[in-house]
Symmetry: C2
Subunit: 192 residues, 2 copies
Amino acid sequence: MTTASTGRRRRADAERSIARIVSAARECLSRDPNASIDDIAKAAGVGRMTLYGHFRNRKELIEAAMADALRAGEEVLSEVDLTGPAQEVLTRLLESSWSLVAESTALLAAAQGVLPAGRIREMHAGPAQRVEDLVRRGQEEGAFRTDMPIAWLVSVVQYVLHGAAEETRAGRLKPEETGRVVIATVQSILAA
Amino acid sequence: MTTASTGRRRRADAERSIARIVSAARECLSRDPNASIDDIAKAAGVGRMTLYGHFRNRKELIEAAMADALRAGEEVLSEVDLTGPAQEVLTRLLESSWSLVAESTALLAAAQGVLPAGRIREMHAGPAQRVEDLVRRGQEEGAFRTDMPIAWLVSVVQYVLHGAAEETRAGRLKPEETGRVVIATVQSILAA
DNA sequence: CTTAACTCGTACAGGTGCATACGACTTATT
DNA sequence: AATAAGTCGTATGCACCTGTACGAGTTAAG
């Protein structure tokens, strides 16, 4: 993103490096929010100096990784069929996005240590709005409960996903049953 | 714990220091899992060298803080009335322990970075067993669901508590409604 | 082919945190 | 009052991570 505003050209080669770095950042930070710049560069198969050539500091790198994860999320969400009862839409939505959200929790933790809270909320605005809209619609249909704050209903889904990812990683939940368990749990929480 | 096996006496003065250090460790690490030894010593109103006189290294200190938190947990749990339907027992149990568990999540995160996973599980064996027993009893009574692994049902409660603590700390959940929200959420998850 | 962009190693400076060593002062305990 | 235990400052060594500087080699793009 260094030579973005100059109007100058950017070599294809650099483009590839940036992509590999961002990808490696997402992977490393998802495993360990305290992963060092050096770890990430190594994982990207790139020298640390090359990384600094594209990202001035750790903060910029994490922001880019975050933005990339959110972009991937938006992409997945936009392909979900939103027609029909809220219950079913929710199931479809979870089926296609639970693993992505789950894997990004550690990345989010890394971001929280570096970026201001406002910036993070701002980046999440899109996806959060989508989920909130769905919950509200479910409430109006009488399918979802109304005895708790909407903000809580939205966040608790996040925490359940986080937990499922953690349990799966630790081997206490079989990968093939994680999806089913997540969906059943979330439905129980939201159901009226 | 340095002069534990020597059979020698320990001064009352040192006993007080140790208590203050462990208490400060719980408090600091609960706010920031990466709090430094120096931070903890300052919070305890004690020199860093005094701290090292009682705990050889960071790992030993964290283990002591963890043990203290769990001891407090055991104490609270042992006072809960276990008679009656599992539903009601669960409510009583959450009412008296949710805040404690919630506050200890960051401390747990600190421990996970230093202690082997096996040691942590071992320390949690007592409380975990208690909750698991209750869940199993609820299942036998027909009050709790049986379509998910018990281990998941037990852990998801933890994650909900963690989430509630986080949301409350961030000001997105009013402190006076946190208890109610937690209990309602957990009951929805466990109910058959 | 020429040039500018890119890669990447080495080196350095600044900061932080952990852990140990030494020594002097203070306080509980008998 | 005497002694051992405890407190605590200063200094030191080590390891790690961040970010910058310089410079030489490599490669894409015109």
